[in-house]
């Protein structure tokens, strides 16, 4: 009580532990509240919905009536609200702060897009309603397709892929379908993938039975053109290249690469994850690309939602467009029509390779992406690319003497650093990233791309203000200084302030606990 003044206000903050934290009875820390698992809130008799009894009716379940308790927790609405609100407070988000995850493009998610996606005339529509009753939805898909084709300079598009990796699969299937049609499927069994590629690229090629052949990078972080050309041959089906690449650099030789690919009779797949760097300024169609997926959740800012849903439409060149999968929208004299069967397609003069998903794709994401496109317009989208590239170069120029950059600028939308600046400090890339958490930042992408040692890939995006980026830069400078001046504890034990400290991932994998289970009866009785 000695620390209290006469008004009962504490005048000092005695009794804290070494790192300033004080143990509480509840384990809570003021606004930061601990929360049990939903199943631990189970309270027999409680329920979060009021549903009337259906009354008497003749069951037609046959002998399939479910017996026994399922095990679901019984909880009222206020408890459910509080449970999930408390959980939400344990997440970092782009709305709360800068989220510099390179290659993932965490930019502002305009709420107008959410509002548009929730219009009943758009959200409350079934995929198999008669086509006359869904003309608005088909028009929306057609409009999105038009924007994607114009922005990329490519004549064909498949909207149905559900995410980026699904789009890659779709693009590579179209390539294989074209090779089958040419009678060259047997002969072409190799796909060239740069070592800096996203993991989804080799995984996709392997899923289709292709042999994955790596292309080395030059010292400048780009495809080694000579090594690449030496790998081309009559057995190559395609190259899968990310551009701008995962080092954040534009592939200067891309037109020459495309020409060599086509000369060898192969196709050019582009991973469009980084399209946001060039949208409105460069059209992939002008670079000689045959297929490219577009992550609507990156370039066109549909929310990432903690890991999805995404959407991965694919644009196609003239050569591949006829092979795009079912379904697709066409416009005719009676309005819009969904081509959903092989016979329909035959009449339409195309040869779709098959179907990627049961229905028509991520419509909810299409609405948000189109709302984003309409809001920006052709002028705003060009500005998006310019500001994204400007912010990244500003980060690169401001930090290149404090951190270490493996490649010369200019970069595109993301700035890549390696771990040379940490040499001899005892601090590793992971520690550096975890210390950023205590400073209130989500770490950048770490250890990717694989071609750089201890990579730190920073993508500020165009929706960060200069003031925000300046504070971020100053913070990283301070961290770099601390690492170099032996303040090792700030890093190796970090994070200290987050809802959880470092988690035992090895233990989690060794003995996986993947679901809650009720405590054993003996323990419960204790």
């Amino acid at each position: 009580m000695s620390g209290m003044n006469k008004q009962g206000r504490p005048t000092s903050i005695g009794g804290t532990s070494a790192n300033g934290a004080r143990e509480t009875f509840t384990g809570n820390k003021a606004l930061e509240l601990e929360e049990p698992l939903l199943f631990e809130l189970d309270n027999p008799g409680a329920c979060g919905v009021d549903l009337d009894d259906p009354g008497e009716f003749a069951s037609h379940l046959g002998n399939f009536e479910r017996q026994g308790r399922i095990g679901l927790a019984r909880v009222s609405e206020p408890e459910v609200m509080r449970h999930f609100v408390r959980l939400s407070s344990k997440n970092y988000s782009i709305d709360a702060g800068l989220y510099p995850l390179g290659s993932c493009t965490m930019k502002h998610n305009p709420r107008l897009n959410e509002k548009m996606a929730r219009l009943p005339g758009i959200s409350d529509v079934h995929p198999l309603q008669p086509q006359k009753t869904v003309q608005g939805s088909l028009e929306l898909m057609n409009e999105l397709a038009h924007w994607l084709k114009e922005l990329t300079g490519m004549p064909g598009v498949a909207l149905s892929p559900k995410a980026g990796a699904h789009g890659e699969l779709c693009g590579m299937m179209a390539i294989r379908a074209a090779l089958i049609a040419r009678g060259e499927d047997e002969q072409r069994s190799r796909v060239l993938v740069p070592e800096s590629a996203h993991g989804t690229n080799p995984a996709t090629a392997a899923l289709l039975g292709y042999k994955v052949d790596g292309i080395p990078a030059t010292k400048e972080g780009r495809v080694d053109l000579e090594a690449f050309k030496s790998k081309l041959g009559p057995d190559v089906a395609a190259i899968m290249l990310t551009n701008p690449n995962t080092c954040g650099l534009f592939e200067r030789d891309i037109v020459e690469i495309a020409e060599a690919v086509h000369e060898a009779g192969a196709y050019f797949y582009c991973d469009g994850a980084n399209f946001n760097a060039i949208v409105g300024r460069v059209r992939p169609g002008d670079l000689g690309i045959d297929a490219m997926h577009i992550n609507l959740h990156k370039t066109f800012s549909t929310p990432h939602g903690g890991g999805g849903p995404g959407a991965g439409p694919v644009v196609f060149s003239e050569a591949l467009a006829p092979f795009a999968p079912l379904p697709y929208v066409v416009s005719g004299k009676d309005g819009f029509r969904l081509v959903e069967t092989e016979d329909d397609a035959k009449a339409d003069g195309t040869q779709p390779f098959g179907r990627m998903t049961a229905f028509h794709g991520q419509m909810g994401m299409f609405v948000r992406a189109l709302s984003y496109m309409l809001s920006h317009g052709s002028d705003g989208l060009r500005q998006v690319a310019e500001d994204a590239v400007l912010n990244a170069n500003y980060v690169l120029a401001s930090l290149k003497d404090d951190l270490s950059a493996p490649f010369e600028g200019p970069c595109m939308h993301e700035a890549l650093f390696d771990d040379r600046f940490l040499k001899g400090t005892g601090v590793e890339t992971l520690d550096f990233a975890k210390a950023m958490i205590d400073e209130g930042y989500h770490p950048m992408t770490m250890y990717f791309p694989l071609v750089v040692h201890g990579a730190l890939l920073i993508e500020p995006t165009e929706t960060e203000s200069k003031q925000s980026v300046d504070l971020f830069i100053a913070t990283l400078k301070d961290l770099a200084r601390a690492a170099k001046s032996n303040d090792k504890d700030r890093f190796t034990g970090a994070p200290y302030m987050s809802p959880r400290r470092r988690l035992d991932e090895t233990g989690a994998a060794r003995k996986p606990v993947l679901r809650w289970a009720p405590p054993a009866p003996a323990q419960a009785a204790e």
Binding site: L72, C104, R283, P325, L514
Partner: protein, 448 residues
């Protein structure tokens, strides 16, 4: 532009620090032939109000499901979603976060994924579930690929109960991944198929859907036994996940993998997506599963926490040797599912299923009284098939003219199959009222 914070002054200052004269200089690595000087041929920016007008016009050209008596199912169902669900999933911390790669500041997402996995395992009657797939159909494709890995065999048998577009997704994957596939003809209610006879020493799995495409409930026990006797797996597909509140789960009938479409819980129709694929299996197959998994662990202070785990199966670690190329899941749709399921709980989930079944039974009784209509199903949940005296596609269009969305003509998904031409697949859920049913019966009587 309202979403872009940099001002001209900011840009000039930043270019100064970079040492570039203009932004164009930063794009100097782009080949000259591909640099666009002018704007692409698309409209200029729009304010919020103008954008809202554009979408309002498109929305007005649709018939919203909620504006008419509505009976369409076939793998997507209209249910009531409690108000709390949409409020909670729009919280910034859920909506605008990324995949939980930094677990220290992603415990919110990780804990709900763990709860989601638990709920899915419970309702399917399985040991373990993953953190979701894109949707039911793509999950079905992944399940077949997983069965190939587990059994080291390359041939799947698809039952005639399977949704034709799910079968098309599996066929597409099999075509390109060079696996063999046998697709049984559509199995009409009241008929049977001898799937056991199709299982050989080469078969990796059989895929059976219940409730089936025509709404019929199917017994999986004998099929499971037949599959296991030959070393094959049984994959059960559940397109309407509300059904498991009332019917025996596939896990209790011997299924090795259960795939579900989770849209019905927490998620709207959205013209086909985004939805949420449920994927559950037995403990012994965990390391062959596709997709993300969340696991329990402890942090440096010994407190319980959650992480993404067993990621050595995944593409970002294993690259071309990964179990799947999948990366993104259906995060926010999983969250909607988890919240809705939490509100329902044991009693609500069971009651909701009962109400759905009652709604479908009452509708079937009502429509059976329309002259010329024959209900084909014996055992069904909230969807059934009726035979009409004329092609169902015409009838559905005629019903739509009368303001009733009456179901799916089987011919839309099975074009050219003569024996399904007159079949109409009809679903009913808790949203339907007695008035809706009466309106349907009256309209049907008129158009037949």
């Amino acid at each position: 532009m309202r979403y872009l914070p940099l001002t001209e002054t900011d840009r000039r200052e930043m270019l100064g620090v970079i040492g570039a004269k203009s932004v164009d200089e930063l794009f100097r690595d782009v080949p000259e032939s591909a640099r666009r000087e002018g704007l692409v041929d698309l409209p200029r920016r729009k304010g919020e109000l103008e954008v809202e007008r554009v979408f309002a016009q498109m929305a007005a050209k649709n018939v919203a499901a909620g504006s008419v008596p509505f009976f369409v199912g076939g793998g997507a169902y209209r249910h009531h979603v409690p108000a709390a669900v949409d409020h909670l999933i729009q919280r910034s911390e859920f909506l605008t976060s990324y995949t939980p790669y930094q677990p220290e500041i992603s415990q919110g997402t990780l804990q709900y994924l763990f709860e989601f996995q638990t709920q899915v395992a419970m309702i399917t009657g399985m040991d373990v579930a993953n953190a979701s797939m894109y949707d039911g159909s793509t999950g079905c494709g992944e399940a077949v690929l997983m069965a190939h890995r587990v059994t080291k065999r390359r041939k799947a048998v698809l039952s005639g109960t399977l949704h034709p577009q799910y079968a098309a997704v599996v066929k597409n994957l099999s075509d390109f991944a060079d696996y063999k596939l046998e697709i049984m003809p559509p199995l009409l209610p009241g008929s049977s198929e001898d799937i056991a006879a199709r299982i050989t020493d080469e078969t990796s799995c059989v895929v059976v859907q219940t409730p089936g495409f025509f709404g019929e409930l199917h017994d999986l026990r004998a099929i499971a036994e037949a599959a296991h006797a030959k070393g094959a797996l049984l994959i059960a597909v559940v397109p309407e996940i509300v059904s498991l509140g009332a019917v025996t789960p596939p896990g209790e009938m011997g299924a090795d993998i259960v795939v579900g479409e989770g849209q019905s819980i927490g998620n709207g129709l959205n013209f086909g997506g985004p939805y949420v694929g449920l994927f559950a299996t037995r403990d012994k197959y965990v390391r062959q599963m596709p997709g993300r998994l969340c696991g329990e662990t402890v942090d440096a202070d010994g407190k319980r926490g959650f992480v993404l785990t067993l990621s050595t199966r995944e593409q970002h670690i294993r690259r071309e040797k990964a179990t799947s190329n999948i990366c993104t899941n259906s995060g926010l749709c999983c969250l909607a599912f988890t919240i809705h399921m939490s509100l329902l709980g044991e009693d609500g989930y069971r009651q909701l299923a009962r109400i759905n079944h009652a709604a479908a039974v009452r509708l079937a009784e009502k429509l059976a009284s329309v002259p010329g209509v024959e209900i084909l199903n014996k055992a069904f949940f909230n969807e059934f098939t009726m035979r009409l005296p004329k092609p169902a596609a015409q009838v559905v269009d005629a019903l739509a003219e009368k303001g009733v969305l009456g179901g799916i003509p089987a011919s839309r998904l099975l074009p050219g199959v003569k024996e399904v031409e007159d079949l109409l697949i009809v679903a009913s859920t808790e949203i339907n009222t007695d008035e809706d049913r009466a309106a349907y019966a009256a309209a049907l009587k008129e158009v037949l």
